[in-house]
């Protein structure tokens, strides 16, 4: 049964290889190969899942050791996989949502002549993401970690002829690299401290603890901070969040799969997986929660201001992941709920993105929400699925988002002390804003009168429902976003499923769960009504009004990019230019200077050879005199 794990990864990897090396002759069937292999991987995942369910809770960890990867003395890195409840959850999410989005892309990318390559990249991403969650040691995880980075680079920049896309791709990779730096430093510290970086011996299980316990808290804090840095990079948390917005340059399925459902949540996976380390390093944990809280507000605010539907959703993604990170930072109180929200979010956010994609598909790639309006009667399926996703994300009671988010807010309060109150407050505020901007999106897109007009080529967009290959995945995801939450939390199924890995404790909630739930619903209602009053009652200007200072700042991602541009980009340019100059003049100049001086000296010496016999004679005579002097001295001595 263990051997299936490798096949899990092998299937999409094979797909990627075949599609990328296959050449044009595969253009006709390429997309189906990709989709089928993704589905196969999902089937394997399902089989393994059933198998795990068969075992009792304590023995649900499968490991597979393939071969020794980098053996150098003490440094032993193996290619080994570890499948436990945590990675199982991810496997199902990745392969499931992944397959659906493959299916969706078949329709969405129909008119792109490079569709084969697109599916190749998607498969590559699946393989890398699976490797990330299945790796049995941090170094192998790092491989997957950068692998998904590469895939996202390729997919964001898929339409490379657009300079904006190419730039966005580069930006995403670079910002991620900064995070990766953190991860690799963390691995170095682990190796020098513990002599290993494999999960098993390092983290241990909750009955017999790993090596982690045997070192100072300072070291662990250092490791924790480095891991947090990595998580920030990958999960677009402040201060490394700037790439996510631009990443929307990629095709919509990519945004749905990578930048909403799976890859961006890898950071959360990393933190939860390294729980043992964070539990022992409270300072690092605190910082995690702070980052989470800041990001969830940051993203929400940005989401309110964007008129580009995908950018708005991107902001919301950022903020939702903020919730997860916040939860993960709470330690055993929050781990489970972080993952739970991650899964439900995977469903409804993917659904929302696919809906957005379907809308753009019908509006010949118009992304400005102010040019939509009243689309509900033109594309009903999209409207319904999108709507369900919307209700899920704002936490409408009974839908999946409600359960997961509510639990997180509870956990935040349960952290206890002032921190608890602050974090909880932030989470609540975030919930309100979420409701506000999602309602805004919903209203602008599907309600009100139609606001679209002919584009520069003069042909009027005539919205239409997307083909079934696109609608089916949307419908399935809608189901997920409706029922997943209930399925998980009724009887705490999900809790019991994950507990053996993450551990759980209830913390000490200062206020009862019921109060939290009530307040959550209350703020949700407030947010919705506010948005409705602002956008539903009054006609919406096609051109965005100048807006308040905050709005303008939020449109520019709260000036984060400007900061980067001024400080990093400009500064970097000047630095490199001056260095190039220095290298040419100073370093090289010294050498050339020496050469020149030698030449000059010899030229001057050359003058002594004036060719006059008499001056030669003088030197001879002088030499004779010196000889005499020498002999005399000899005799004198």
């Amino acid at each position: 049964m263990e051997n299936l794990i490798a096949l899990l990864i092998a299937a999409p990897l094979l797909g990627a290889a075949v599609l990328l090396c296959g050449g044009r002759r595969l253009d006709a069937v390429g997309h189906w190969i990709g989709t089928v292999l993704a589905a196969v991987s999902f089937v394997f995942g399902a089989i393994l899942f059933v198998d795990l369910l068969g075992k009792d809770a304590e023995h649900r960890t499968l490991t597979q050791h393939l071969f020794s990867w980098i053996p150098v003395e003490g440094f032993q890195a193996d290619v080994a996989f570890r499948l436990d409840q945590l990675s199982m959850t991810f496997v199902l999410l990745i392969t499931g949502v992944g397959s659906l989005i493959h299916l969706y892309s078949v329709g969405y990318m129909e008119h792109d002549e490079r569709r084969r390559r697109f599916f190749g990249y998607l498969n590559l991403f699946l393989a890398a993401m699976l490797l990330l969650v299945l790796a049995d040691n941090y170094l192998l995880l790092y491989v997957g970690w950068e692998g998904v980075g590469l895939a996202s680079y390729l997919l964001i920049g898929f339409w490379q002829h657009k300079p904006s896309a190419a730039t966005a791709a580069k930006k995403a990779f670079l910002v991620n690299r900064v995070g990766d730096m953190g991860l690799s430093i963390a691995i170095m510290i682990m190796f020098t401290t513990f002599g290993t970086f494999a999960f098993g011996p390092l983290l241990g299980t909750h009955e017999e603890p790993g090596l982690v316990g045997e070192t100072s808290e300072g070291t662990l804090t250092a490791i924790g901070l480095m891991l947090l840095l990595a998580a920030c990079g990958k999960s677009a948390q402040v201060p490394l969040q700037s790439w996510l917005g631009d990443a929307m340059e990629g095709p919509t399925p990519v945004s749905a799969l990578i930048h909403a459902a799976t890859m961006v949540t890898a950071g959360v996976y990393l933190i939860v997986r390294s729980g043992a380390i964070f539990n022992a390093a409270p300072d690092a944990q605190l910082l995690v929660t702070i980052v989470g809280a800041v990001t969830l507000l940051f993203g929400a605010i940005v989401g309110c201001a964007k008129d580009d539907i995908k950018k708005a959703l991107a902001g919301s993604t950022m903020s939702q992941i903020g919730y997860m990170v916040l939860a993960a930072g709470l330690g055993p109180i929050g781990y489970v709920f972080a993952i739970m929200h991650l899964v439900t979010h995977g469903f409804f956010k993917a659904g929302l993105f696919l809906g957005a994609g379907s809308v753009m598909h019908g509006m010949n790639d118009e992304v400005d929400m102010r040019k939509y309006g009243g689309l509900r009667k033109y594309m009903p399926v999209t409207f319904i699925t999108f709507g369900l996703g919307y209700l899920a994300i704002i936490g409408f009671p009974g839908l999946s988002g409600f359960f997961s988010k509510d639990k997180i807010i509870e956990a935040a309060f349960a952290k206890g002390g002032t921190e608890g109150w602050i974090l909880g407050g932030c989470a609540l505020l975030g919930a309100a804003i979420t409701a506000y901007y999602m309602t805004r999106v919903m209203v602008l897109t599907f309600f009100g009168e139609k606001r679209w007009q002919p584009d520069e080529h003069g042909h009027e967009p005539h919205p239409h429902e997307s083909p079934s290959s696109m609608t089916i995945p949307m419908i399935l995801l809608a189901f997920g976003s409706v029922f997943a939450g209930g399925l998980f939390s009724v009887g705490d199924r999900f809790l019991h499923w994950l507990e053996p890995i993450t551990g759980h404790d209830h913390g000490d909630a200062p206020i009862s769960a019921a109060t939290v739930t009530a307040s959550t619903v209350a703020v949700m209602v407030i947010g919705v009504t506010a948005a409705y009053l602002q956008y539903g009652r009054r006609p919406v200007p096609v051109v965005a009004p100048r807006g308040s200072l905050l709005t303008r700042a939020a449109r520019r991602d709260l000036l984060q990019d400007d900061f980067n541009h001024v400080v990093l980009v400009r500064g970097g340019e000047h630095l490199t230019r001056s260095l190039v100059y220095i290298d040419h003049t100073l370093v090289d100049g010294v050498v050339n200077g020496t050469a020149a001086s030698v030449g000059g000296l010899s030229g001057r010496l050359r003058k002594l050879q004036n060719g006059f016999a008499r001056s030669y004679a003088v030197s001879m005579f002088g030499g004779a005199a010196l000889l005499v002097a020498a002999t005399l001295l000899m005799r004198a001595v």
Binding site: F612, S615, V618, G622, A625, V628, L632
Partner: protein
Amino acid sequence: MSAQLAAYSTSTGEAFQFWVLGTVAVIGALGTVFMKKAVHSALCLAGTMIVLAVFYLANGAYFLGVVQIVVYTGAIMMLFLFVVMLVGVTAADSLKETIKGQRWLALLCGLGFGILLFAGIGNASLTEFNGLAQANANGNVEGLAALLFTKYVFAFEITGALLITAAVGAMVLTHRERTERARTQRELAEQRVREGKNVPPLPAPGVYARHNAVDIAGLLPDGTPSELTVSKTLRERGQIRDVSTEALNDLKALEQRAEERLERTAVEPANLKRAEEASK
């Protein structure tokens, strides 16, 4: 002075002679170096050499003394004078230094070298000296001959070979092989016509001349001297005596005397003009 005397002692007489003639020798040497004209240098050198010859005699080297006078002062210095005559006085004679710093370096080296030599001789212990008494017992020349034809015979032969080689070498160097036929009068004339300069033969020296020395340029009808009339060598040496002015004065004087004798009035300007035209 006699052989015995020279043999083992230095009489006050010799001392006196040394100081006097030594001074002469040094002066001669300095003259050789600092005289402007090569001829004078040669004469100074000759003087020095004679003094040296005397010193040889005083040191009991009678044969060398004689040879010094005969060969050096006689033959070699004559050779020098011949060459000086051939080459003549050149611009090289001027004592003005052309190479920068050469003179000062030279004097510095010379001074240093001299001082060093003197120092060397100073600490050399040259006090004891045994005269040439028994060496010259049966005649200085015999003594030399004995050595020369026994001990140094080989060197002697070699020297002979050297002399012959030198003689041959001198001939080879000075004898110039004519590579092309000498040009005939006709060819020279034709070339002059072709080049169009000096088409008539060069003017002879002494036109309107009062002197017949070769170093005086002949005068043209207008009384200016013509360089062409003087030999090339003199021209290169810049040894031309210009007498044009005095010649003109003589001419005036002549005319005046003629007037007085013939009681004529002054010549009309017209004639003068014509005369000038004719002279042009």
